[in-house]
Amino acid sequence: MSSTTDTRPARRLTVTGLVTAALLLTAVYGVFFGAPEDADQGIIQKIFYFHVAIAMVALLAFLVAAIEGIRYLRERDPRHDEIGSICVGIGLAFSILVVITGSIWAKASWGTWWVWTDPRLVTFVIVLLLYAAYFVLRSSADGERQARYSAIYSVAAFASVPLSFYSVRVARSFVHPVVFNQQGANMPDSMLWWFVVGQIAMIGVFLTILQLELIQRRADRALRRVKARLEAAA
């Protein structure tokens, strides 16, 4: 039987979705009621749990896109292109959230919506531009060439992420709080625990959207096939 009747992906999506929802609720509860309030910044510090988790997932999505790009170039399986492009889309959406949450946090703790002296926030704007160009490239080519060029660009763009970060960082003195350094996490255990839960929940969100998007695209293709068959019959 054709893949259109395969319900396993849908069931997997249900499981991922439910687990993610439970994790998110736990994380929200833990962040607001479980974790201690920051002595210095107060309630606004709660945004840290989401801001950092979202940023990590955005980078994870771009990493997966680069890996899928390499796999596409090696195997030429359109599935890798599909996953790669979805990951870039998710990464882009999450990057926008990073910039928004970062801007809110900046307003609350530094008194201004935007600081050029913070290398991480500035890097995410560069990353936004980098990966927005990915979709401009995608829309200007078709078929196999579209997949191939997207794959090459996703590798090149991922190479520029650390370079951008480093160059912005050396160009500016920075005011961004450094939470993780070589000595480990710079926060109490009660905060770290809820941070980890939030981080896993965000990865769950990423996986849920990825599965949803894959199922939707497959349904779209199946629908097109049915339509073509109907048109041929008529």
Partner: protein, 229 residues
Amino acid sequence: MRPVWSRQLRALLLKDLRLELRTRDTIVAMVLFSVVAMMIFQFAVGSSGDDLTDVAGGILWATLALTAVLGVGRSWVPEREQRVLDGILVAPIPRLVLLVSKVGAIYAYLLVVEIIAVPLAALFFIRHGQAGDLLLVAGVCLLANLGIAVLGSLLACLALFARARELLLPVLFLPSLLPVVIAAAGATHAVAGGTNDLAEYRGYLLFLGVYAVIFGLVAYATYDHVFDD
């Protein structure tokens, strides 16, 4: 007897340079553009006094980055016109040699522009500069050009067959080029901005080298797939 690839590289590179010397389309446009861009930046930045020493490095490298877009965009045009590319791809020339020849051509264009634009920027923007600083800035140019040329030649072939090619290239090219602009402007500022901070200069130069190596590796790993149809 030199190896085959070096003769192929020489032939391809000379073809590009000879074409450019005959028409002079690209170089003249790039030089004029760079001068106009510097004028625009001078008026846009503004200044209470006449001294732009502090922003000279930034103006120079913003100008050169935008000028590079012109050169990179033109670099594959000879191949596209009259289907020269088909001929080259059919010939037993490794793809890598083709890419390296383009890197060489773009590098040469940039160098010509810089020979005019850098002294001009020094004249326009730097007060109390020293001639020795120009040599240090030349070092920045030699290294920054490498990164620009490698990245540019790779991304330009992605844009080559795309719709709205002229629009696509700057959008693809400039965000990835930003680290070069930051580091090159920083290095230029370190020696010409009145501070003469050689440790900072060396740090930025190292970064430019690392940038060129990383994109060199990316290009090396992916160039084979660019002309795969």
